[in-house]
């Protein structure tokens, strides 16, 4: 009996989505190996590759488990998840370890956990559950304000770690989910005015009276984006090297392991933030096109899952996850080619990083779960089984 059920579930997985994700993981692993194997400080040329593969396998297991759990059950645990999200973020402040002046990781002995990554997926569930629980068609300002309040607490905590990029992702998720839920346009207009006012306050008014909410490097990064000549030695140098790497890849690339920018260390952070620059240099426009193709499959399947989900909660979860992936994809690649500021947002499934990998796989697991549930609803054998209850 059980084996029949599992077989039914397996049959209803979204294989196109799974294949695209697996493709990205393999693709990313190759690029990470290329970017890091020549680092003389590593104990082994496979050091980063091994960790990334381990995270990927762990992520696949988690994805598999999540895919089989009924996501709808999570809805009831909204507050548990929310408290959990806040707890792990607060933990960072208490026991976190700092890297490059920013406290983002919790040392768990065998690996470092980056709570902000898990928080993104957690907040998708929390916000989707909250919005789905509103009485039908309720579009009052209170809903918008409560949603914003839910999101603001973890976003601010993450922002002050500081992790500007992850905070931005949370903002994007929140805005997108409010839109998908369908709040009034007037709310967005008020939000836009409020954000502009807040930015003016933070960047101009408060510094004028001696209060600095943004770290200087964050302001610098913003300024560099607006004017790359602002700091050619720091962030501007990174951006220039990234553009040189991608541009010099031309159509077919310099060949795997042959990228001079990547292999000779001209590219900064070449296995994390600037992993796409390595890909662009070594595999060229064709390599970039393959990456875009795989990602488009994910977006396509994600939107499809959003539409076939059998309830609003599922649609909102799928929409939130989709936004999370799309936003990170766009901002990360945009940053390597100079159309987005350098915010430290990584490329999902490609950039090196265990927490991100596991969190993203968790998100894919949720998409698969939504897919499976919606398919089961239309499956005759499943309906038969239901009749026998």
């Amino acid at each position: 009996m059980l084996t029949v059920e599992i077989r039914t579930y397996i049959r209803h997985l979204d294989y196109a989505l799974l294949a695209a994700v697996l493709g990205l993981i393999v693709y990313g692993s190759v690029i990470i190996y290329s970017a890091t194997h020549g680092d003389p400080d590593l104990p082994s040329p496979y050091y980063y590759l091994r960790i990334q593969m381990f995270a990927a396998v762990l992520g696949l297991i988690i994805m598999g488990m999540v895919a089989f759990v009924d996501y709808r059950g999570l809805r009831r645990y909204r507050m548990h998840i929310y408290v959990g999200v806040l707890a792990i973020i607060v933990m960072v402040y208490i026991v976190g370890s700092a890297v490059k002046g920013s406290q983002r990781w919790i040392d768990l002995g065998i690996f470092n956990l980056q709570p902000s990554e898990l928080a993104k997926v957690g907040m998708v569930l929390v916000l989707a559950a909250y919005l789905a629980d509103r009485p039908r068609g309720e579009l009052e300002a209170q809903t918008t304000l409560t949603t914003l309040a839910y999101a603001a607490l973890p976003a601010l905590l993450i922002f002050f770690e500081p992790d500007f990029g992850s905070a931005l992702v949370l903002v994007a998720i929140t805005v997108a989910m409010l839109y998908l839920y369908g709040i009034r346009w007037t709310h967005f207009a008020v939000m836009a005015v409020a954000v502009s006012g807040a930015l003016l306050l933070v960047l101009k008014a408060l510094p004028a009276v001696g209060i600095h909410l943004l770290q200087q490097y964050q302001i610098d990064r913003l300024l560099v984006f607006l004017n790359p000549e602002h700091d050619p030695g720091g962030a501007g140098y990174n951006l220039m090297q990234s553009k040189i790497a991608i541009g010099s890849g031309m159509i077919t690339g310099k060949g795997l392991y042959q990228g001079t920018q990547a292999q000779l260390n001209f590219l900064p952070e070449h296995h994390t933030d600037f992993v796409f620059s390595v890909l662009g240099e070594e595999l060229g426009f064709i390599g970039a096109a393959v990456l875009f193709g795989l990602f488009m499959i994910i977006i396509w399947r994600g939107i499809r899952i959003m539409l076939i989900a059998d309830n609003l909660f599922g649609s909102l979860v799928a929409g939130g996850i989709l936004t999370m992936l799309l936003f990170q994809f766009f901002v990360n690649i945009g940053m390597t080619i100079g159309i987005m500021p350098i915010t430290g947002i990584t490329l999902p499934f490609i950039s090196y990083g265990g927490s991100a990998m596991v969190s993203n796989m968790l998100a894919i697991g949720l998409l698969e779960s939504i897919h499976v549930r919606s398919k089961l609803a239309g499956d005759r054998r499943y309906r038969r089984a239901q009749v026998t209850v």
């Binding site: 059950g73 839109y179 030695g233 000779l264 260390n265 939107i303 959003m306």
Partner: protein, 635 residues
């Protein structure tokens, strides 16, 4: 019944109870908007990547290569300079140079400022060097040559962190095993400047190249200069070389062998310095400069050529500092950089009498036996001309021996009355008033005054006229005539070798630095044979031999000196200065092998100061270069 099924049913029940969970009808539209946004964002990225990779790809390839490829010039060692006995005068040593690769600098202003502090070179100078190579972006540029070991270790430690574009490489530098010896002859090496780059002589040189700036280094630059090599290496972001892409070995320059004899050169320089001391001891306290030439009268090979004061050529190695350069050129240093032997111009005074004598005899103005009476003053003209003594009745031989001015005043006046420029003509034929053709840069031509020159030179109407006094003055080598010590040596060489005006030279041959094979002969073939009778020359030679005797103008300076020499003093009057002391001699008198010309600026009488210097030089010559042949075997 499985767990999964149970949860499905639970959910279903809950959803049903709640009733608010039905999907909103407009969700599909909003999902479409999300999808559309995704497509738009993808399109933006793809368009931008297409622009970078396909449209501007070539530019970025160039920038990537600029990042990783560095061409490091490997300067070729210059050829060595040897004396005639293959004793090295200029060698190379392995120096260290600091290079900058501008493209690798992250923060050029700050890095250059720090580098400037570390190597003690002003930022502006470093920037000037970099500006020279602005268009050659792959090249690392030498900004400082010859750093100390301390500077090297200071930089090496800090290059990866603070100076990513900076590197240190080997750089061949000149060294002078004989220190100051022959400094004026050897010259020095320096970086080619803008004016020189415009010069067709340097058409195949590029900015930053080292060239010979003076002396032999300048003259024989095309032989001494090697062919630079280059190393093309791939470096990482920290500037560490990763692999070599190309390596073109440098070809060392060829060696130049000089006619100079180091021992003679040293002896000459010492004798000259001794002459200055002697002048001081004799009360001529303003004596402060001098020159001496030691030459083979038959072929013009220069054995020694000295100028006082001198300088240390090592100051130029790695670039002379502003302080050192100013010190050399300061007032009171008395132009140590001037090679007085070829560029100093002085009235020849009595040493010129041999020229007047030649002209007088050859143009039949007098015969050897013509005599004039010297009563100490010659007052034919409105202004009386004095002689240094009262010599009574003198013929030409006696006139040369006693250096009797009045004899030559008469001769000069006869030329004037005959409206003849014979003296000027013969002076020119002996080589005065024009370049001797010596293979050293910066030679002065001196001046042989004639009516035409006076017309063009004189300021007032009277100054523009050739007056009898001009001819009279010229006859004893005074007035407006100027010669260089080398011209005078060449003149006496022509007398010694029966009328052959040789081309003085310091270059002997060029040899391959590696194999030592002779590549070129630097000795000039040209000489001028004067149409002068041997009888004329014999009279003069007899006079010059007699002039070295105790009864002449040199006291007992040459008493007991073997072999017999021939020579002449000169005591030049220079307006506002103490007299300049000359002595010119050749030896042995009957078979001349060497000619020596000595000048001491403000040294007083030629006999008192210049003659003893000449004697020291000749002693050295016969000790060093012509050691007395062992006595022939008995029987």
């Amino acid at each position: 019944m499985s767990f999964l099924q149970k949860s499905e049913i639970n959910n279903r029940r809950k959803n049903g109870a709640n009733g608010s969970d039905r999907k909103l009808p407009s969700l599909a539209f909003r999902a479409g908007v999300l999808g559309g946004l995704a497509v738009l964002l993808f399109a933006v990225l793809i368009f931008r990547i297409w622009f970078l990779q396909v449209i501007s790809g070539d530019d970025y390839i160039a920038m990537a290569d600029n990042n990783r490829v560095r061409i490091i010039r490997e300067e070729a060692p210059r050829g060595l300079i040897y004396d005639r006995n293959m004793q090295p005068l200029v060698e190379n040593r392995a120096g260290l140079a600091v290079t900058v690769f501008p493209a690798a600098m992250v923060n050029p202003e700050a890095e250059l400022a720090a580098l400037s502090q570390a190597i003690g070179t002003p930022v502006e100078e470093i920037k000037q060097q970099l500006a020279l190579h602005q268009e050659d972006t792959y090249r690392s540029v030498v900004v400082k040559k010859d750093i100390t070991p301390e500077q090297k270790s200071f930089l090496i430690e800090r290059i990866p962190l603070y100076f990513p574009g900076v590197d240190i490489k080997k750089f061949p530098l000149r060294s002078y095993p004989e220190e100051n010896t022959a400094a004026h002859v050897l010259g020095h090496v320096g970086q080619i400047d803008e004016d020189e780059l415009m010069d067709p002589r340097y058409s195949d040189y590029s900015p930053g190249d080292e060239i010979g700036k003076d002396g032999v280094e300048y003259q024989f630059d095309r032989y001494l200069r090697g062919t630079d090599g280059s190393r093309e290496v791939e470096v990482d972001a920290d500037g560490r070389p990763k692999r070599e892409l190309q390596n073109i070995q440098s070809q060392p320059g060829n060696n130049v062998v000089l006619t100079i004899d180091t021992r003679m050169q040293k002896a000459t320089e010492e004798a000259l310095a001794g002459g200055i001391d002697l002048a001081h001891d004799s009360g001529y306290l303003s004596a402060n400069g001098g020159a001496a030439v030691v030459m083979n009268p038959n072929d013009g090979q220069i054995y020694a050529i000295a100028s006082y004061p001198s300088f240390d050529p090592d100051l130029w190695v790695g670039g002379i500092s502003d302080a050192d350069y100013e010190n050399l050129n300061r007032e009171g240093a008395n132009d140590p950089l001037l090679n007085r032997a070829i560029a100093g111009q002085y009235p020849p005074a009595s040493t010129f009498k041999v020229v007047t004598a030649t002209a007088a005899l050859e143009e039949d103005v007098v015969s050897p036996l013509t005599d004039f009476t010297c009563g100490g003053v010659w007052d034919v003209l409105s202004q009386p001309f004095k002689c240094w003594g009262a010599h009574g009745s003198v013929d030409m031989r006696t006139a040369i021996i006693q250096s009797c001015d009045i004899y030559f005043y008469n001769v000069g006046y006869r030329f004037y009355k005959a409206d003849s420029l014979g003296i000027q003509r013969w002076a020119s034929m002996y080589g005065m008033g024009r370049e001797t053709g010596v293979d050293l840069p910066g030679e002065a031509v001196g001046r042989v005054p004639d009516p035409e020159w006076k017309r063009s030179f004189g300021q007032t109407e009277i100054d523009q006229m050739w007056l009898p006094g001009d001819s009279v003055n010229l006859s004893i080598g005074q007035g407006d005539i100027l010669v260089t010590p080398l011209q005078l040596a060449t003149t006496y060489a022509a007398i010694a070798n029966n009328g052959r005006v040789v081309t003085p030279h310091v270059g002997l041959r060029v040899e391959d630095q590696v194999t030592g094979v002779e590549l070129a002969n630097l000795q000039p073939e040209e000489f001028t044979q004067l149409d002068v009778s041997l009888d004329t020359l014999q009279v003069i030679k007899d006079g010059l031999v007699g002039a070295t005797g105790p009864g002449a103008t040199v006291g007992d300076t040459f008493v007991g000196f073997t072999p017999q020499i021939a020579g002449k003093t000169g005591t030049a009057q220079v307006a506002g200065k103490t007299d300049y002391a000359w002595y010119v001699a050749y030896a042995p008198a009957d078979d001349p092998q060497v000619v020596v010309a000595v000048l001491i600026e403000q040294g007083g009488g030629g006999g008192k100061v210049a003659a003893p210097v000449t004697r020291s030089i000749l002693e050295a010559y016969f000790n060093i270069m012509q050691p007395a042949a062992p006595p022939p075997p008995e029987g």
